[in-house]
Chain length 95, copies 2
DNA sequence: ACAAAATGTCAGCGTACGGCGACAATCATA
DNA sequence: TATGATTGTCGCCGTACGCTGACATTTTGT
């Protein structure tokens, strides 16, 4: 049951959902993740400036695993954008 | 080709690896992700206090996808720790 | 060998983060 | 309905983040 994370809001919603499904209060989660209760609340509300380390701590406390994979082939633009830049750089070098 | 992310170091290494495999410099990636070049360098070096939003921006710029999934069943302790707390809470309520 | 490109590192600046205590508002339950 | 639990929000404080410019060091390419 994997959820794709494309935004902070996705992540926040997943964290809140998981916390609730485990029957934990924000305070309990905070204790396990070594963050403040207020931090949990604000993170769940979608705060984009949260510190990565603390995010990972919370995910760990909730037994949530993050995985990272490539999505080349799924996107149309980035590969052409990359080629364009590489091309220009190369062109500049040859000149 | 999915990589499990269990630490900042994992993530940083994946980002650097991906950037290199795409043939991008830190400066190029920085431009695409709307962060400073120095930020990319420090993040790749494993800085744990990076801002989540910027991390997601960089992952997007590298066409890397994050997914989140539950790992109950893989761990032995958390489920017993959670049960203990829930039990105590319930016990307190009944009293 | 040398030059250009890339990366590592430093310092200054302004903004804001995380923890804390506290209180308001909301929710759950008896 | 009343009460306790939970969550939202505020303000204070000290620390540090991200950007920038700059320079040192390393790597790459010829």
């Amino acid at each position: 049951m994997a959820t794709s994370i494309t935004s902070i809001r996705d992540l926040a919603a997943s964290v809140r959902g998981r916390r609730r499904s485990l029957g934990l209060s924000q305070a309990q989660l905070a204790g396990r993740a070594h963050v403040s209760r207020q931090w949990v609340g604000q993170f769940e509300a979608g705060r984009p400036t949260a510190e990565l380390r603390l995010v990972l701590q919370v995910l760990e406390a909730l037994d949530l695993r993050l995985t990272l994979d490539e999505r080349d082939g799924d996107r149309r633009e980035p590969s052409s954008a990359i080629d364009l830049d590489a091309l220009l750089d190369e062109h500049r070098r040859e000149r």
